[in-house]
Protein backbone atom coordinates (compact mmCIF):
# COMPACT_ATOMS: atom_id res chain seq x y z
CA UNK A 1 0.00 0.00 0.00
CA UNK A 2 1.32 3.36 -0.95
CA UNK A 3 0.05 6.44 0.77
CA UNK A 4 3.12 8.64 0.70
CA UNK A 5 5.31 8.97 -2.32
CA UNK A 6 7.62 11.50 -0.80
CA UNK A 7 9.04 10.38 2.53
CA UNK A 8 11.64 13.13 2.55
CA UNK A 9 9.03 15.87 2.60
CA UNK A 10 7.08 14.12 5.33
CA UNK A 11 10.18 13.73 7.50
CA UNK A 12 11.23 17.34 7.02
CA UNK A 13 7.73 18.61 7.77
CA UNK A 14 7.55 16.61 11.00
CA UNK A 15 11.06 17.63 12.05
CA UNK A 16 10.46 21.29 11.32
CA UNK A 17 7.23 21.20 13.28
CA UNK A 18 9.05 19.68 16.25
CA UNK A 19 11.72 22.32 16.04
CA UNK A 20 9.21 25.12 15.84
CA UNK A 21 7.14 23.80 18.74
CA UNK A 22 10.14 23.21 20.93
CA UNK A 23 11.23 26.81 21.05
CA UNK A 24 8.26 28.74 19.75
CA UNK A 25 6.41 29.17 23.01
CA UNK A 26 9.22 30.83 24.93
CA UNK A 27 10.12 34.50 24.71
CA UNK A 28 13.71 33.83 23.76
CA UNK A 29 12.54 31.41 21.06
CA UNK A 30 15.27 29.73 19.09
CA UNK A 31 17.90 31.52 21.17
CA UNK A 32 17.19 28.99 23.90
CA UNK A 33 18.58 26.23 21.72
CA UNK A 34 21.93 28.01 21.87
CA UNK A 35 21.75 29.49 25.36
CA UNK A 36 21.10 26.17 27.10
CA UNK A 37 24.40 24.42 26.33
CA UNK A 38 26.20 27.73 26.69
CA UNK A 39 24.98 28.09 30.27
CA UNK A 40 26.05 24.55 31.10
CA UNK A 41 29.41 25.28 29.54
CA UNK A 42 29.84 28.49 31.55
CA UNK A 43 29.11 26.73 34.81
CA UNK A 44 31.31 23.69 34.17
CA UNK A 45 34.07 25.84 32.74
CA UNK A 46 34.06 28.01 35.84
CA UNK A 47 34.00 25.07 38.22
CA UNK A 48 36.65 22.97 36.52
CA UNK A 49 38.90 25.72 35.19
CA UNK A 50 38.93 28.03 38.15
CA UNK A 51 38.19 25.84 41.14
CA UNK A 52 39.68 22.47 40.17
CA UNK A 53 42.21 24.22 38.00
CA UNK A 54 42.22 21.83 35.02
CA UNK A 55 43.32 24.78 32.92
CA UNK A 56 46.76 24.93 34.44
CA UNK A 57 47.37 21.20 34.54
CA UNK A 58 48.95 21.18 31.13
CA UNK A 59 45.81 20.52 29.09
CA UNK A 60 45.82 22.66 26.00
CA UNK A 61 42.63 24.64 25.34
CA UNK A 62 40.70 23.03 28.18
CA UNK A 63 37.71 25.33 27.69
CA UNK A 64 37.48 24.53 23.98
CA UNK A 65 37.73 20.82 24.73
CA UNK A 66 34.97 21.15 27.29
CA UNK A 67 32.66 23.06 24.96
CA UNK A 68 33.17 20.61 22.10
CA UNK A 69 32.44 17.69 24.39
CA UNK A 70 29.35 19.28 25.94
CA UNK A 71 27.82 20.06 22.57
CA UNK A 72 28.44 16.53 21.32
CA UNK A 73 27.03 14.95 24.43
CA UNK A 74 24.03 17.30 24.37
CA UNK A 75 23.40 16.17 20.80
CA UNK A 76 23.56 12.53 21.86
CA UNK A 77 21.32 12.85 24.90
CA UNK A 78 18.72 15.02 23.19
CA UNK A 79 18.69 12.85 20.07
CA UNK A 80 18.31 9.58 21.95
CA UNK A 81 15.59 10.87 24.26
CA UNK A 82 13.49 12.34 21.48
CA UNK A 83 14.06 9.30 19.28
CA UNK A 84 13.06 6.91 22.04
CA UNK A 85 9.88 8.80 22.89
CA UNK A 86 9.01 9.58 19.25
CA UNK A 87 6.35 6.96 18.56
CA UNK A 88 4.53 7.55 21.82
CA UNK A 89 4.65 11.32 21.63
CA UNK A 90 3.27 11.21 18.10
CA UNK A 91 0.76 8.50 18.95
CA UNK A 92 -1.89 10.14 16.77
CA UNK A 93 0.20 9.47 13.70
CA UNK A 94 0.53 5.85 14.73
CA UNK A 95 -3.02 4.98 15.72
CA UNK A 96 -5.23 7.33 13.72
CA UNK A 97 -3.66 7.13 10.31
CA UNK A 98 -0.91 5.39 8.48
CA UNK A 99 2.43 6.99 7.87
CA UNK A 100 5.52 4.80 7.61
CA UNK A 101 6.63 4.77 11.23
CA UNK A 102 10.31 4.97 10.54
CA UNK A 103 9.71 8.49 9.24
CA UNK A 104 8.44 9.49 12.69
CA UNK A 105 11.55 8.11 14.38
CA UNK A 106 13.92 9.77 11.92
CA UNK A 107 12.08 13.11 12.13
CA UNK A 108 12.43 13.20 15.91
CA UNK A 109 16.18 12.61 15.79
CA UNK A 110 16.58 15.20 13.04
CA UNK A 111 15.36 17.85 15.43
CA UNK A 112 18.38 17.20 17.64
CA UNK A 113 20.59 17.43 14.56
CA UNK A 114 19.14 20.87 13.72
CA UNK A 115 19.85 22.12 17.23
CA UNK A 116 23.36 20.70 17.05
CA UNK A 117 23.85 22.48 13.73
CA UNK A 118 22.86 25.76 15.35
CA UNK A 119 25.25 25.10 18.20
CA UNK A 120 28.08 24.79 15.70
CA UNK A 121 27.85 28.56 15.31
CA UNK A 122 28.83 28.96 18.97
CA UNK A 123 31.60 26.42 18.62
CA UNK A 124 33.03 28.27 15.64
CA UNK A 125 32.75 31.52 17.55
CA UNK A 126 34.73 30.15 20.51
CA UNK A 127 37.38 28.69 18.24
CA UNK A 128 37.83 32.19 16.84
CA UNK A 129 37.93 33.75 20.32
CA UNK A 130 40.65 31.32 21.40
CA UNK A 131 42.39 31.91 18.12
CA UNK A 132 42.50 28.24 17.23
CA UNK A 133 42.07 27.15 13.64
CA UNK A 134 41.41 23.40 13.20
CA UNK A 135 43.15 21.70 10.29
CA UNK A 136 41.17 20.65 7.25
CA UNK A 137 41.74 17.01 8.12
CA UNK A 138 40.52 17.81 11.63
CA UNK A 139 37.30 19.33 10.32
CA UNK A 140 36.81 16.42 7.94
CA UNK A 141 37.18 13.92 10.75
CA UNK A 142 34.88 16.01 12.91
CA UNK A 143 32.14 15.67 10.29
CA UNK A 144 32.70 11.92 10.10
CA UNK A 145 32.47 11.64 13.89
CA UNK A 146 29.25 13.64 13.91
CA UNK A 147 27.86 11.30 11.26
CA UNK A 148 28.87 8.32 13.42
CA UNK A 149 27.23 9.84 16.47
CA UNK A 150 24.07 10.53 14.51
CA UNK A 151 24.04 6.95 13.21
CA UNK A 152 24.36 5.79 16.81
CA UNK A 153 21.42 7.98 17.83
CA UNK A 154 19.28 6.64 14.99
CA UNK A 155 20.17 3.04 15.82
CA UNK A 156 19.31 3.58 19.47
CA UNK A 157 16.04 5.26 18.54
CA UNK A 158 14.93 2.42 16.26
CA UNK A 159 15.64 -0.07 19.00
CA UNK A 160 13.97 1.78 21.85
CA UNK A 161 11.06 3.66 20.24
CA UNK A 162 8.83 0.56 19.91
CA UNK A 163 9.98 -0.77 23.29
CA UNK A 164 9.22 2.53 25.00
CA UNK A 165 5.62 2.21 23.83
CA UNK A 166 5.34 -0.91 25.99
CA UNK A 167 7.57 0.01 28.88
CA UNK A 168 7.14 3.61 29.79
CA UNK A 169 9.72 3.67 32.56
CA UNK A 170 12.48 3.14 30.02
CA UNK A 171 12.93 6.90 29.91
CA UNK A 172 13.81 7.00 33.61
CA UNK A 173 16.31 4.20 33.23
CA UNK A 174 17.85 5.91 30.23
CA UNK A 175 18.17 9.16 32.18
CA UNK A 176 20.29 7.38 34.77
CA UNK A 177 22.34 5.63 32.09
CA UNK A 178 22.88 8.95 30.35
CA UNK A 179 24.43 10.47 33.43
CA UNK A 180 26.64 7.40 33.79
CA UNK A 181 27.73 7.86 30.19
CA UNK A 182 28.27 11.55 30.80
CA UNK A 183 30.69 10.96 33.67
CA UNK A 184 32.40 7.94 32.16
CA UNK A 185 33.15 9.75 28.92
CA UNK A 186 35.98 12.25 28.73
CA UNK A 187 33.76 15.31 28.80
CA UNK A 188 34.55 17.38 31.86
CA UNK A 189 37.95 15.75 32.28
CA UNK A 190 40.42 15.01 29.52
CA UNK A 191 41.28 11.38 28.88
CA UNK A 192 44.92 12.02 29.77
CA UNK A 193 43.96 12.55 33.42
CA UNK A 194 42.83 8.92 33.64
CA UNK A 195 45.38 6.24 34.54
CA UNK A 196 46.79 4.80 31.30
CA UNK A 197 45.52 1.25 31.84
CA UNK A 198 41.93 2.52 32.31
CA UNK A 199 41.92 4.74 29.26
CA UNK A 200 41.23 1.94 26.80
CA UNK A 201 38.17 0.86 28.77
CA UNK A 202 36.71 4.34 28.56
CA UNK A 203 37.30 4.28 24.82
CA UNK A 204 35.21 1.11 24.51
CA UNK A 205 32.18 3.32 25.01
CA UNK A 206 31.46 4.55 21.48
CA UNK A 207 30.15 7.89 22.77
CA UNK A 208 33.31 8.39 24.80
CA UNK A 209 35.42 7.35 21.82
CA UNK A 210 33.71 9.80 19.49
CA UNK A 211 33.86 12.67 21.95
CA UNK A 212 37.51 12.09 22.81
CA UNK A 213 38.70 11.82 19.24
CA UNK A 214 36.60 14.74 18.05
CA UNK A 215 38.38 16.93 20.55
CA UNK A 216 41.70 15.47 19.45
CA UNK A 217 40.89 16.05 15.78
CA UNK A 218 39.69 19.62 16.14
CA UNK A 219 42.14 20.89 18.72
CA UNK A 220 45.25 18.74 18.64
CA UNK A 221 45.02 17.54 15.04
CA UNK A 222 45.58 13.95 16.12
CA UNK A 223 43.68 10.87 14.99
CA UNK A 224 43.04 7.34 16.26
CA UNK A 225 44.88 4.35 14.78
CA UNK A 226 42.91 3.17 11.73
CA UNK A 227 42.01 -0.22 13.19
CA UNK A 228 40.18 1.47 16.08
CA UNK A 229 38.29 3.56 13.61
CA UNK A 230 37.34 0.47 11.62
CA UNK A 231 36.04 -1.07 14.84
CA UNK A 232 33.93 2.00 15.54
CA UNK A 233 32.32 2.03 12.09
CA UNK A 234 31.84 -1.73 12.10
CA UNK A 235 30.31 -1.64 15.57
CA UNK A 236 27.88 1.11 14.63
CA UNK A 237 26.90 -0.63 11.40
CA UNK A 238 26.34 -3.91 13.22
CA UNK A 239 24.30 -2.44 16.07
CA UNK A 240 22.36 -0.30 13.60
CA UNK A 241 21.44 -3.37 11.58
CA UNK A 242 20.46 -5.32 14.69
CA UNK A 243 18.42 -2.41 16.01
CA UNK A 244 16.57 -2.12 12.72
CA UNK A 245 15.73 -5.82 12.70
CA UNK A 246 14.28 -5.57 16.21
CA UNK A 247 12.40 -2.46 15.13
CA UNK A 248 10.84 -4.25 12.14
CA UNK A 249 9.69 -7.06 14.40
CA UNK A 250 8.17 -4.82 17.07
CA UNK A 251 6.80 -2.15 14.77
CA UNK A 252 3.93 -4.34 13.56
CA UNK A 253 2.23 -4.32 16.93
CA UNK A 254 3.13 -0.84 18.02
CA UNK A 255 -0.35 0.60 17.39
CA UNK A 256 -1.92 -1.98 19.70
CA UNK A 257 0.18 -1.01 22.67
CA UNK A 258 -0.26 2.75 22.55
Amino acid sequence: MKSHENHGELIMRLARTDFKLRYHGSTLGYVWAIVKPLLLFTILNFVFSSIFNFRNSGIPFYSLQLLTAILLFGFFSEGTVSGMTSLLSKSQLVTKTYVPRWTIVIASTLNALFVFGMNMIILAFFFIVYNKMPSLAGIGMFLIYVACLYALIVAFSFLTAPIFVRFRDLSMIWEVLLSIIMYSAPIIYPLSLIPAHLQKFLLLNPVGFIIHYTKEALILNSFPPPWQFVFLIGGIAFSGGAAFLVYCKLERKVAEYI
Binding site: M1, K2, S3, H4, E5, N6, E9, L10, R13, L14, T17, K20, L21, H24, G25, K90, Q92, L93, V94, T95, K96, T97, Y98, V99, R166, F167, R168, D169, L170, I173, R252, K253, A255, E256
Partner: protein
Amino acid sequence: MKYQNIPSEYAISVKGLSKRFVIPHERINTLKGAFIHAFRRKTFETFYALDAVSFDIKRGECFGIIGRNGSGKSTLLKILAGVYVADSGSVSIDGRISPFLELGIGFNPELSGRDNIYLNATVLGLSKKTIDEKFDSILAFSETGRFIDQKLKNYSSGMQVRLAFSVAIHANRDILIMDEVLAVGDTNFQAKCLQELHNLKEAGKTIVLVTHDISAVEKHCDRAMLIEEGKIAAIGEAGIVVAEYMKRNMSRNMSEVAKLI
Protein backbone atom coordinates in the same frame (compact mmCIF):
# COMPACT_ATOMS: atom_id res chain seq x y z
CA MET B 1 -0.99 -10.15 5.64
CA LYS B 2 -0.11 -8.55 2.34
CA TYR B 3 -1.21 -5.41 0.63
CA GLN B 4 -1.17 -5.74 -3.09
CA ASN B 5 -2.35 -3.63 -5.90
CA ILE B 6 -4.66 -5.53 -8.18
CA PRO B 7 -6.21 -3.98 -11.22
CA SER B 8 -9.82 -5.04 -11.13
CA GLU B 9 -13.31 -3.75 -10.70
CA TYR B 10 -12.79 -3.82 -6.96
CA ALA B 11 -11.17 -0.97 -5.07
CA ILE B 12 -10.86 -3.02 -1.91
CA SER B 13 -10.92 -6.75 -1.70
CA VAL B 14 -10.75 -8.44 1.69
CA LYS B 15 -10.37 -12.19 2.08
CA GLY B 16 -10.60 -14.20 5.28
CA LEU B 17 -9.42 -11.38 7.47
CA SER B 18 -8.99 -12.24 11.14
CA LYS B 19 -7.68 -10.22 14.01
CA ARG B 20 -7.58 -11.26 17.61
CA PHE B 21 -6.45 -9.31 20.59
CA VAL B 22 -4.89 -10.84 23.62
CA ILE B 23 -6.03 -8.77 26.54
CA PRO B 24 -4.16 -9.37 29.77
CA HIS B 25 -6.18 -9.01 32.94
CA GLU B 26 -3.46 -6.87 34.33
CA ARG B 27 -1.72 -4.69 31.81
CA ILE B 28 1.96 -4.22 32.52
CA ASN B 29 3.24 -0.92 31.33
CA THR B 30 6.66 -0.63 32.93
CA LEU B 31 9.89 -2.60 33.01
CA LYS B 32 9.60 -2.54 36.78
CA GLY B 33 6.22 -4.23 36.50
CA ALA B 34 7.51 -6.76 33.98
CA PHE B 35 10.35 -7.59 36.35
CA ILE B 36 8.19 -7.94 39.44
CA HIS B 37 5.58 -10.03 37.65
CA ALA B 38 8.12 -12.12 35.74
CA PHE B 39 7.24 -15.33 37.56
CA ARG B 40 3.60 -14.72 38.21
CA ARG B 41 1.13 -16.58 36.04
CA LYS B 42 -0.34 -14.23 33.54
CA THR B 43 -4.02 -14.47 32.84
CA PHE B 44 -5.54 -13.08 29.73
CA GLU B 45 -8.53 -13.24 27.50
CA THR B 46 -8.47 -13.71 23.78
CA PHE B 47 -10.90 -11.59 21.93
CA TYR B 48 -11.72 -12.06 18.27
CA ALA B 49 -12.26 -8.59 16.90
CA LEU B 50 -12.57 -9.91 13.36
CA ASP B 51 -13.28 -13.49 12.44
CA ALA B 52 -12.65 -14.54 8.84
CA VAL B 53 -14.23 -11.52 7.21
CA SER B 54 -14.41 -11.42 3.41
CA PHE B 55 -15.98 -8.76 1.25
CA ASP B 56 -15.32 -6.60 -1.79
CA ILE B 57 -15.90 -2.93 -2.36
CA LYS B 58 -16.41 -1.89 -5.95
CA ARG B 59 -14.64 1.02 -7.50
CA GLY B 60 -16.62 4.25 -7.28
CA GLU B 61 -18.96 2.84 -4.71
CA CYS B 62 -20.07 4.43 -1.46
CA PHE B 63 -19.90 1.61 1.03
CA GLY B 64 -21.30 1.88 4.53
CA ILE B 65 -20.18 -0.15 7.50
CA ILE B 66 -22.53 -0.29 10.45
CA GLY B 67 -22.66 -2.18 13.69
CA ARG B 68 -22.92 -1.69 17.42
CA ASN B 69 -20.03 -0.46 19.54
CA GLY B 70 -17.31 -3.08 19.84
CA SER B 71 -18.51 -5.06 16.84
CA GLY B 72 -15.16 -4.77 15.04
CA LYS B 73 -15.81 -1.82 12.74
CA SER B 74 -12.89 0.23 13.94
CA THR B 75 -10.52 -2.73 13.90
CA LEU B 76 -11.50 -3.38 10.29
CA LEU B 77 -10.91 0.23 9.33
CA LYS B 78 -7.57 0.26 11.09
CA ILE B 79 -6.48 -2.80 9.17
CA LEU B 80 -7.62 -1.25 5.89
CA ALA B 81 -5.70 1.89 6.77
CA GLY B 82 -2.57 -0.05 7.68
CA VAL B 83 -2.56 0.86 11.36
CA TYR B 84 -3.05 -2.72 12.54
CA VAL B 85 -1.55 -5.81 10.99
CA ALA B 86 -4.07 -8.65 10.65
CA ASP B 87 -3.31 -12.13 11.99
CA SER B 88 -4.46 -13.84 8.82
CA GLY B 89 -6.23 -13.11 5.58
CA SER B 90 -5.42 -10.63 2.88
CA VAL B 91 -6.31 -7.09 1.93
CA SER B 92 -5.95 -5.92 -1.65
CA ILE B 93 -6.26 -2.25 -2.31
CA ASP B 94 -6.34 -0.84 -5.80
CA GLY B 95 -5.71 2.87 -5.83
CA ARG B 96 -4.38 5.40 -3.42
CA ILE B 97 -6.03 5.29 -0.07
CA SER B 98 -6.60 8.18 2.28
CA PRO B 99 -6.21 6.52 5.62
CA PHE B 100 -7.65 9.09 7.95
CA LEU B 101 -9.76 7.67 10.70
CA GLU B 102 -10.12 10.97 12.41
CA LEU B 103 -10.10 14.55 11.27
CA GLY B 104 -7.16 16.84 11.88
CA ILE B 105 -4.50 14.26 12.56
CA GLY B 106 -1.33 15.95 13.68
CA PHE B 107 -3.13 19.23 14.36
CA ASN B 108 -1.29 21.15 17.00
CA PRO B 109 -2.96 23.95 18.97
CA GLU B 110 0.29 25.90 19.26
CA LEU B 111 0.73 26.21 15.51
CA SER B 112 -1.00 28.63 13.18
CA GLY B 113 -3.83 27.51 10.92
CA ARG B 114 -1.47 27.76 7.97
CA ASP B 115 1.16 25.51 9.55
CA ASN B 116 -1.52 23.05 10.55
CA ILE B 117 -2.84 22.82 7.00
CA TYR B 118 0.63 22.02 5.72
CA LEU B 119 1.28 19.53 8.51
CA ASN B 120 -2.03 17.71 8.21
CA ALA B 121 -1.95 17.63 4.42
CA THR B 122 1.61 16.29 4.42
CA VAL B 123 0.56 13.56 6.81
CA LEU B 124 -2.29 12.71 4.43
CA GLY B 125 0.28 12.28 1.69
CA LEU B 126 0.25 15.53 -0.25
CA SER B 127 3.45 17.08 -1.54
CA LYS B 128 4.34 20.65 -0.71
CA LYS B 129 3.78 21.69 -4.30
CA THR B 130 0.26 20.28 -4.31
CA ILE B 131 -0.54 21.94 -0.99
CA ASP B 132 0.70 25.27 -2.31
CA GLU B 133 -1.64 24.91 -5.28
CA LYS B 134 -4.63 23.87 -3.23
CA PHE B 135 -4.07 26.18 -0.31
CA ASP B 136 -6.59 28.85 -1.35
CA SER B 137 -9.21 26.27 -2.12
CA ILE B 138 -8.71 24.57 1.26
CA LEU B 139 -9.02 27.89 2.98
CA ALA B 140 -12.13 28.88 1.06
CA PHE B 141 -13.92 25.63 1.81
CA SER B 142 -13.13 25.81 5.51
CA GLU B 143 -14.51 29.37 5.82
CA THR B 144 -11.76 30.29 8.27
CA GLY B 145 -9.99 32.75 5.96
CA ARG B 146 -8.92 35.67 8.09
CA PHE B 147 -7.85 33.58 11.06
CA ILE B 148 -5.32 31.61 9.06
CA ASP B 149 -2.24 33.02 10.80
CA GLN B 150 -3.77 32.74 14.26
CA LYS B 151 -2.77 29.87 16.48
CA LEU B 152 -5.15 26.96 16.26
CA LYS B 153 -5.88 27.13 20.00
CA ASN B 154 -7.68 30.41 19.38
CA TYR B 155 -10.05 28.74 16.91
CA SER B 156 -13.46 27.61 18.02
CA SER B 157 -13.91 23.85 17.92
CA GLY B 158 -16.23 24.21 14.94
CA MET B 159 -13.59 26.15 13.02
CA GLN B 160 -10.96 23.52 13.78
CA VAL B 161 -13.18 20.77 12.48
CA ARG B 162 -14.04 22.74 9.35
CA LEU B 163 -10.38 23.29 8.64
CA ALA B 164 -9.65 19.60 9.18
CA PHE B 165 -12.47 18.42 6.94
CA SER B 166 -11.42 20.85 4.26
CA VAL B 167 -7.87 19.46 4.23
CA ALA B 168 -9.18 15.92 4.20
CA ILE B 169 -11.37 16.31 1.13
CA HIS B 170 -8.55 18.06 -0.73
CA ALA B 171 -6.32 15.06 -0.22
CA ASN B 172 -7.71 13.79 -3.52
CA ARG B 173 -7.31 10.09 -2.97
CA ASP B 174 -9.04 7.33 -4.91
CA ILE B 175 -10.34 5.70 -1.77
CA LEU B 176 -11.55 7.63 1.26
CA ILE B 177 -12.05 5.98 4.59
CA MET B 178 -14.20 7.99 6.96
CA ASP B 179 -14.95 7.08 10.54
CA GLU B 180 -17.74 9.16 12.03
CA VAL B 181 -16.47 12.26 10.34
CA LEU B 182 -19.82 13.52 9.13
CA ALA B 183 -20.99 14.71 12.50
CA VAL B 184 -19.03 17.94 12.28
CA GLY B 185 -19.88 21.61 12.32
CA ASP B 186 -23.26 23.24 12.24
CA THR B 187 -26.08 22.06 10.01
CA ASN B 188 -24.97 24.40 7.26
CA PHE B 189 -21.50 22.95 7.14
CA GLN B 190 -22.83 19.42 7.43
CA ALA B 191 -24.93 19.96 4.36
CA LYS B 192 -21.84 21.25 2.60
CA CYS B 193 -19.87 18.17 3.65
CA LEU B 194 -22.56 15.83 2.39
CA GLN B 195 -22.69 17.73 -0.88
CA GLU B 196 -18.92 17.37 -1.14
CA LEU B 197 -19.20 13.67 -0.42
CA HIS B 198 -21.68 13.47 -3.24
CA ASN B 199 -19.26 15.32 -5.54
CA LEU B 200 -16.46 12.94 -4.63
CA LYS B 201 -18.68 10.04 -5.50
CA GLU B 202 -19.60 11.65 -8.80
CA ALA B 203 -15.89 12.04 -9.47
CA GLY B 204 -15.54 8.27 -9.20
CA LYS B 205 -13.97 8.06 -5.75
CA THR B 206 -14.57 5.06 -3.59
CA ILE B 207 -15.88 6.00 -0.16
CA VAL B 208 -15.98 3.80 2.89
CA LEU B 209 -18.23 5.32 5.49
CA VAL B 210 -18.41 4.11 9.05
CA THR B 211 -21.08 5.76 11.08
CA HIS B 212 -23.84 5.33 13.62
CA ASP B 213 -25.97 7.68 11.60
CA ILE B 214 -27.90 4.99 9.74
CA SER B 215 -30.02 7.50 7.91
CA ALA B 216 -26.84 8.82 6.28
CA VAL B 217 -25.93 5.29 5.23
CA GLU B 218 -29.39 4.73 3.80
CA LYS B 219 -29.29 8.01 1.95
CA HIS B 220 -25.74 8.09 0.59
CA CYS B 221 -24.42 4.56 0.41
CA ASP B 222 -24.97 2.15 -2.47
CA ARG B 223 -24.21 -0.90 -0.43
CA ALA B 224 -23.62 -1.53 3.24
CA MET B 225 -22.34 -4.17 5.58
CA LEU B 226 -23.47 -5.01 9.08
CA ILE B 227 -20.81 -6.35 11.43
CA GLU B 228 -21.68 -8.21 14.59
CA GLU B 229 -19.10 -9.68 16.97
CA GLY B 230 -16.43 -9.65 14.31
CA LYS B 231 -18.50 -11.41 11.68
CA ILE B 232 -20.49 -10.13 8.74
CA ALA B 233 -24.14 -10.33 9.71
CA ALA B 234 -25.50 -8.83 6.54
CA ILE B 235 -24.15 -7.35 3.36
CA GLY B 236 -25.90 -5.93 0.37
CA GLU B 237 -28.07 -3.06 -0.67
CA ALA B 238 -27.89 -0.26 1.91
CA GLY B 239 -31.59 -0.05 2.66
CA ILE B 240 -31.91 -3.79 3.30
CA VAL B 241 -28.86 -3.92 5.57
CA VAL B 242 -30.04 -0.91 7.54
CA ALA B 243 -33.46 -2.55 7.97
CA GLU B 244 -31.78 -5.73 9.20
CA TYR B 245 -29.74 -3.69 11.67
CA MET B 246 -32.87 -2.00 12.98
CA LYS B 247 -34.67 -5.32 13.26
CA ARG B 248 -31.83 -6.91 15.22
CA ASN B 249 -31.54 -3.94 17.54
CA MET B 250 -35.24 -3.97 18.08
CA SER B 251 -35.45 -7.65 18.96
CA ARG B 252 -32.44 -7.29 21.23
CA ASN B 253 -34.06 -4.42 23.02
CA MET B 254 -37.28 -6.37 23.32
CA SER B 255 -35.59 -9.37 24.85
CA GLU B 256 -33.75 -7.12 27.29
CA VAL B 257 -36.99 -5.52 28.29
CA ALA B 258 -38.54 -8.96 28.63
CA LYS B 259 -35.71 -10.00 30.95
CA LEU B 260 -36.34 -6.99 33.14
CA ILE B 261 -40.01 -7.82 33.46
